[in-house]
């Protein structure tokens, strides 16, 4: 495993040569990612640092390699069921619903959200914003093309969230896949439909900056399985930023095994699986 001295040099190189700052990423997983880059590229830590300093394209590629991008359509179905039955209905009578997917990866989470919104008749009034630090996954998200073979569980998840009702087992919804995506088994492809792909506004954005890249307050912020890569200090900073950019009674949705531990906790009321933004005294 790479030494702590070498990690320090790598962190310093990113900071000197770019605006990326990974110093508040989790120590062990960051070391592991860098180690993997060194092994995959068969280079020493010193050479890696040199290249980071001299080659901007290499640096950008390294940022993409450091990030972990695993995701699924309707990942963690229980969360989507809560969203469907507990959260989204609260916005039925609002004229708009603004949603930010922070750390959207290759987009499966965004498509899951749009499919759900459409079934609830809320698609047209929704505004969807999506960001990630990794430009390659943003491009994948915009295309909405996914492998079929490796992702059969997407369909299981879809069935659980879109076709079954855990509150009423008799009820089954008949939602055909083709309404939202085409499956081409021969080409091994799941292709999201055009009306979905065109909708979200995508932007490259680094959460470490601690600012909101849009001129909007949000009703819903999803940031799932992203801040697990951050240390408690950076987590708290990011969650405070979310709190400042959520409308009152808006919801923050973290990953299934995440919770708010630091002082940012005081801005929220914890509900099953969600955090609701509390009313604060000063609005400005």
């Amino acid at each position: 495993m790479i030494s702590n001295d070498d990690i320090a040099k790598v962190l310093a190189a990113f900071k000197t040569a770019s605006t990326y700052d990974f110093s508040d990423y989790c120590d062990r997983s960051f070391a592991r990612r860098v180690d993997k880059i060194l092994t995959d590229n068969k280079i020493s830590a010193d050479l890696f640092v040199k290249q980071l300093m001299s080659d901007r394209d290499f640096l950008e590629k390294s940022v993409r390699d450091i990030t972990v991008n695993t995701t699924e359509l309707f990942r963690d179905p229980q969360m989507w069921l809560n969203l469907r039955y507990q959260v989204l209905p609260r916005f039925k009578d609002k004229p708009t619903i603004k949603i930010w997917h922070a750390g959207c990866s290759s987009g499966q989470e965004i498509y899951s959200m749009m499919i759900l919104l459409n079934e609830l008749g809320m698609f047209d009034k929704a505004q969807i914003f999506a960001t990630d630090i990794n430009t390659a996954v943003i491009e994948a998200a915009q295309t909405g093309t996914y492998k079929y073979m490796f992702n059969l569980n997407y369909l299981d998840n879809f069935d659980k969230v879109m076709r079954e009702n855990p509150y009423n087992f008799e009820q089954k919804y008949d939602v055909p896949y083709e309404k939202y995506f085409d499956i081409d088994k021969r080409k091994d492809v799941i292709q999201m439909n055009d009306f979905l792909c065109k909708k979200p506004v995508f932007r490259k954005h680094d959460l470490v900056s601690g600012c909101n890249p849009f001129y909007h307050q949000f009703d819903l912020i999803l940031c799932r399985n992203v801040i697990i890569y951050f240390n408690p200090k950076l987590q708290n900073k990011v969650i405070n930023m979310f709190a400042n950019n959520l409308s009152v009674n808006g919801f923050l949705i973290l990953g299934a095994s995440e919770s708010i531990l630091g002082s940012a906790n005081s801005s929220f009321e914890r509900m099953v699986g969600f955090y609701r933004k509390k009313q604060t005294i000063s609005m400005f």
């Binding site: 495993m1 062990r28 990612r33 240390n231 987590q235 990953g255 095994s257």
Partner: protein
């Protein structure tokens, strides 16, 4: 008595569930050390695992959340579908990196980070299992000066994991389930 160890890490896969049940059933409610378990689960057994183990245990069994601080006297179980690290400062950290050795959680990863954190104050135990995950992890425990134990391959339902561990490093003890329990009880 102060134990010379700070944590016990257990890795297991196929055939380890019954062994784990026996071990945790034998621990008293005031067992002072944290027990950290990284077990492979069958794909469809996502939930209900904690409940099943809790029935047997006098200690609380917890699937830690990300950055949750580690406390003594608890049994921790790596949550399904995440890798689980122990970070310096004794907090858990989760990750969704790709599977390693077909496994997420990866026993190796958990053991690496625990041994980095606890060095010689760690006890690592590998139980029955059908793949090689955990072998390098147990080696890292030994390299860090910690104590290494494998379940006796003769007793394992599937001995691949323990045998691989014994090939990767010279383990301190080869124990039956009963001996593992006696050892853990005597530790404190």
């Amino acid at each position: 008595m102060e134990s010379e160890y700070k944590a016990i890490m257990i890795g297991g896969s196929a055939g380890s569930f019954q062994v784990v049940c026996k071990i945790i059933a034998a621990l008293p409610a005031d067992y002072p050390l944290p027990i950290i378990m990284c077990l492979h689960r069958l794909k469809h057994v996502r939930s209900g695992f904690v409940e099943a183990l809790s029935i047997k245990s006098k200690l609380p069994i917890i699937e830690p959340h990300d950055k949750e601080p580690l406390r003594n006297g608890r049994i921790y179980l790596a949550p399904a579908n995440y890798h689980m690290y122990i970070e310096l400062g004794n907090r858990f950290s989760l990750s969704t990196e790709d599977v390693i050795n077909h496994s997420r959680p990866s026993i190796d990863l958990s053991f690496f980070s625990a041994s980095y954190n606890y060095k010689r104050k760690l006890v690592g135990i590998i139980l029955s299992g059908a793949n090689k995950d955990g072998a390098l992890g147990l080696k890292s425990v030994a390299d860090g000066g910690g104590l290494t134990i494998v379940q006796d391959p003769k007793e394992c339902q599937v001995p691949t994991m323990t045998t691989a561990s014994m090939n990767a490093t010279k383990v301190d003890h080869i124990f039956t389930t009963k001996q593992i329990i006696d050892f853990l009880l005597k530790l404190t």
